[in-house]
């Protein structure tokens, strides 16, 4: 369905004149919406291509989460994409996003390593182009180059790992490998490389060095997409692969994950303390959040997968809300630093409140979804007995509260002689923000969402 959507957009590009390019925006959003509706109405089950492509209710849920996230990103990007500098590339933006989304879908539905790799590449390449979308900004080009070189290197590593696994087990299909997987030297080497490839996509420490610069340089819409959809899909696939393919080596990869989680949370937090630019700030916060999610992966089976996906749902709404406010302010005034936000509450009440809500959700404060997400992740880790890791995680959560409160302090407490003046956002942005806020509240309180996710995990 997504392929059809992409084709429709290409056709529209050819047919519509330059001036009316803006019409592509609602068409794209509508198409994505229809795709989602079809996915819910006709959930697919089964395998095709000889088992390379798997569809079941778990994957449907993941794809739905990604679709929702993409719709929100598209809503958020409306004003930016219609700005003068980007006007001639509107359709390209949507084609690239759809292409990337198709790649993510293939990656999520992969039944073997080749499909996984294919999906991963298809997902990454368009995003690299998207990162460089702001043609007239040097940082954007820099972001694009950094992303493409780092991605290429990491996917090469992953391919190496896949090769080793193939050499040992004689097959690339997940099911076959799972049956014969033994923790011997070659397999462990392969697993480590594959883990590194994923760790890059999820921006775990020490594979995180690209994240800050890319998040800062890329346009805000692309950053939102990267931080939520790309990370989310990679996390799901990592969890799936670790549980179902490398299941027999779980003692070994658990140790790896504990170390990675500890490093990621701590270093992500420590660096975030010093940031002045909102986008870099949110980048390091994303890195730290990825560390927290690893705690969920450390849980076992149903609980582990369920809590990871639940947190991702909450994370989608939270992160996109935060980035949308940043985008709104960036579109209106071009300002990106925390100190520019001083006194924002006086002039733009709703935006301040929404950002505050999103930051509280990221910090894990009730009654919003982030609280439940974080606590369930800790529960998953505790269920396997990792109490000291949970202790370190909660200490990190406390440290993170400090930097999440910095923008809150800027907006509500600091005084400013020249605060950002009041501006109205367009309808798309408003819908995006309203949906995000609703999502933040509902995901936490309505237990049915968590129950359903858990039941399909």
């Amino acid at each position: 369905m997504l392929v059809i959507a992409a084709v429709v957009i290409i056709v529209t590009e050819l047919l519509v004149s330059d001036k009316n390019k803006g019409i592509v925006v609602p068409i794209a959003i509508a198409l994505l919406f229809i795709t989602m509706a079809l996915t819910i109405a006709f959930p697919a089950e089964g395998r095709i291509f000889g088992g390379m492509y798997v569809a079941d209710s778990l994957r449907t849920v993941v794809k739905l989460i990604m679709d929702i996230a993409t719709i929100l990103v598209l809503l958020q990007s409306n004003r930016w994409i219609k700005a003068a500098a980007n006007h001639d590339k509107i359709t390209e933006f949507f084609i690239l996003i759809f292409a990337s989304l198709i790649g993510m879908s293939y990656m999520v539905s992969a039944g073997d390593f080749i499909m996984l790799y294919l999906g991963l590449e298809l997902a990454t390449m368009p995003v690299c182009a998207l990162a460089a979308f702001d043609k007239y900004k040097r940082v954007s080009a820099e972001a694009g180059i950094k992303l493409i070189y780092s991605s290429a290197f990491s996917t090469a590593l992953m391919l190496m790992g896949i090769t080793f696994i193939y050499a040992v087990s004689g097959s690339v299909y997940f099911d076959d490998i799972a049956l014969s997987f033994q923790p011997d030297a070659m397999s462990m080497l392969g697993m480590t490389f594959i883990l590194s490839g994923f760790a890059f996509k999820i921006s775990l420490v020490p594979f995180h060095l690209w994240a800050a610069d890319v998040y800062e340089g890329a346009p805000v819409a692309v950053t939102s997409y990267l931080s939520v959809v790309s990370k989310g899909a990679a996390l799901f696939v990592l969890t799936w692969v670790l549980y179902n393919v490398f299941g027999s080596a779980s003692e070994i990869w658990r140790q790896l994950l504990v170390v990675l989680a500890f490093l990621t949370m701590t270093i992500g937090n420590l660096f975030a303390l010093r940031q002045e630019n909102m986008k870099r700030f949110l980048a390091f916060s994303s890195i730290a959040q990825a560390g927290f999610i690893l705690l969920g992966v450390l849980g076992e089976g149903q609980l582990g997968m369920g809590t990871v996906l639940f947190f991702l749902t909450a994370y989608v709404f939270t992160n996109i809300a935060a980035f949308s406010v940043v985008a709104a302010i960036d579109d209106a005034t071009g300002k990106e630093n925390i100190s520019d936000y001083n006194g924002l509450y006086k002039t733009n009440k709703q935006l301040s409140l929404i950002l505050m809500l999103a930051l509280f959700s990221l910090a894990g404060i009730p009654p919003v979804a982030g609280f439940f997400g974080k606590l369930f992740l800790f529960n998953a880790a505790a269920s396997q007995g990792y109490y000291w890791l949970v202790f370190i995680a909660v200490i990190n959560a406390t440290i993170s509260l400090y930097y999440y409160l910095r923008p809150v302090r800027a907006m509500f407490i600091e005084k400013n002689d020249a605060p950002i003046p009041f501006f109205k956002s367009d309808w798309y942005m408003r819908i995006c923000l309203i949906l995000c806020v609703l999502g933040i509240f509902i995901t936490g309180f309505v237990s049915a969402i968590f129950e359903y996710i858990l039941s399909v995990s």
Binding site: F360, I365, A382, F391, V394, A397
Partner: protein, 497 residues
């Protein structure tokens, strides 16, 4: 519908109405009316509870209601009360009601102030009625964040620093509680893991698990109870906070710590409590004396009171750690007594400050001549603080020390004597402040023009004063109420010896 739900619904409705009205006067009255209804509900809950007990119901918790929230994780929205909860709810309602009138003059971002204050109170009420430790923790966290906003925006002095320090340290305490929470959940002896407090109480945890998690739970809640050495957020936090926030925080929030300790830590981990009590007794004794000495050093009224709160709250935890029914009863009585007293103090200090614009004790003097009503109330509050018989402080402290002396071993006796010595120190700083501030010559000529208390100030201070005196003159009904509710946990602690 269960009356306990009203305790959450009324504040939420009040918030909505505050957000809807237009004028500043309407905002104040909306909050006042809302909190008045909350007070009525709290009194009703207490009366209903007493009726239920009179009719012979001896179950551990009454007025219970349970809704399945997350069935897969066994998280329920379970509520219920016993005598102690009822008393604490009443305390919160009284302090909150008085606090609204103490904030009558706030004008900057007035709506946001009252909304934040009510959300804070909602968290506290929810904490007291919850019987499921996950929901308890949710309400507990809900009460922490509005503190940052309230102190940061409407505070005085080094407000940003104090607000951040307070919030981070309290979150640090929560961090410890989270570890204990999941530890309890996963290591309980129950057939399937549950967060429900009563279920967990039926199935004791293994001794090893108890030993590991009791410090986490105790210290986590202890941070909020200003346990030495985690008390450092308290002086700056209380001093920088606006009046009503200090009242609510010192009066009620710090009691959440003590309540959490006995409701969660001691109830679920009695063996570990018996074994490790001595370590924490050392800490609390230091807390009691350190707070008192700290108060002597201070020259700012609010700092004096903040350190005094550290001392009295330390006494609460001290009483709890004695692990017998008498001392624990005294501890909870002290929670209530000190809650009312310190709320009264902060309210008075706020009123004095708004008149004299200084909080330095030595810059003021002879206020008895100028603002007699406030001065007399302040004097009585001071006497309550140092434990004058007839006022609530005496009843509470006496009970704690009687209970403490029931331990005949040398360690407990020494610790108790050490803690009792703080009474003398308390007397020193209280009498010094009363003498310098209220009696003697008027230091500043400009003070002769000051106006005495207005009607809303009289209302809030008299309400608190009457409560303090009431508990002091006839504490028996409260004592018995608490004593009966302590029976389950006292039995568990005795069995764990």
């Amino acid at each position: 519908m269960n009356i306990l739900h009203l305790l959450i619904i009324i504040p939420l409705l009040t918030t909505v109405s505050v957000l809807c009205v237009k004028s500043m006067k309407a905002v104040r009255w909306a909050t006042a009316v809302g909190m008045f209804f909350q007070l009525l509900t709290a009194i009703t809950v207490l009366l209903v509870y007493m009726v239920i007990r009179q009719s012979g119901d001896t179950s551990e918790m009454v007025l219970m209601d349970t809704y399945n929230w997350y069935p897969s994780l066994n998280i329920t929205y379970a509520i219920g009360v016993d005598g102690i909860s009822c008393a604490m709810i009443l305390l919160t309602a009284i302090v909150m009601f008085a606090g609204v009138f103490a904030s009558w003059e706030i004008e900057y971002l007035q709506k946001e102030f009252f909304v934040s204050l009510i959300i804070l109170a909602t968290g506290v009420f929810g904490f007291f009625i919850s019987l499921d430790i996950f929901t308890m923790f949710l309400y507990y966290e809900l009460a922490v964040i509005p503190m940052y906003i309230l102190i940061g925006i409407w505070g005085t002095g080094r407000k940003e620093y104090s607000a951040m320090k307070l919030t981070l340290m309290l979150m640090g305490g929560s961090a410890l509680i989270i570890v204990a929470l999941f530890g309890i959940y996963h290591s309980s002896g129950a057939p399937e893991p549950t967060f429900n407090l009563l279920e967990l109480g039926k199935y004791p945890m293994s001794e090893a698990a108890q030993r590991f998690f009791f410090p986490f739970a105790f210290l986590g809640f202890g941070v909020l109870g200003a346990l030495f050495p985690f008390h450092t957020w308290s002086p700056d936090g209380h001093a920088s906070a606006p009046t009503a926030v200090s009242m609510l925080h010192a009066g009620v929030l710090m009691k959440l710590g003590g309540y959490g300790i006995f409701r969660v830590a001691m109830y679920l981990m009695p063996q570990a409590a018996q074994e490790q009590a001595w370590i924490f007794i050392v800490l609390t004794s230091i807390s009691v004396v350190y707070g008192a000495f700290g108060a002597i050093w201070q020259k700012d009224l609010k700092y004096i009171n903040a350190y005094s709160s550290v001392s009295h709250c330390g006494l609460v935890i001290f009483g709890l750690l004695m692990l017998n029914q008498t001392a624990m009863d005294g501890a909870i009585l002290q929670m209530i007594s000190h809650g009312l007293m310190t709320a009264l103090f902060f309210a008075l200090i706020g009123m004095i400050y708004s008149r004299t614009h200084t909080r330095q004790v030595f810059e003021m003097g002879g206020l008895m001549k100028v603002i007699p009503f406030l001065a007399v109330v302040y004097m009585i509050a001071g006497f309550a603080s140092l434990g004058l018989p007839g006022l609530s402080g005496f009843a509470a402290e006496m009970t704690i020390f009687v209970g403490a002396f029931q331990h005949v071993d040398l360690f407990h006796r020494i610790a108790t004597i050490f803690a009792i010595s703080a009474i003398v120190v308390t007397a020193v700083y209280i009498l010094r402040v009363v003498g310098t501030l209220l009696l003697g010559p008027v230091k500043n000529e400009a003070f002769m023009q000051l106006k005495d208390a207005r009607w809303y100030e009289r209302l809030s201070t008299l309400l608190l004063l009457v409560s303090v005196a009431g508990v002091g003159i006839y504490p028996q009904w409260l004592y018995q109420l608490i004593f009966d509710s302590l029976a389950p946990i006292a039995q568990k602690l005795a069995a764990a010896l």
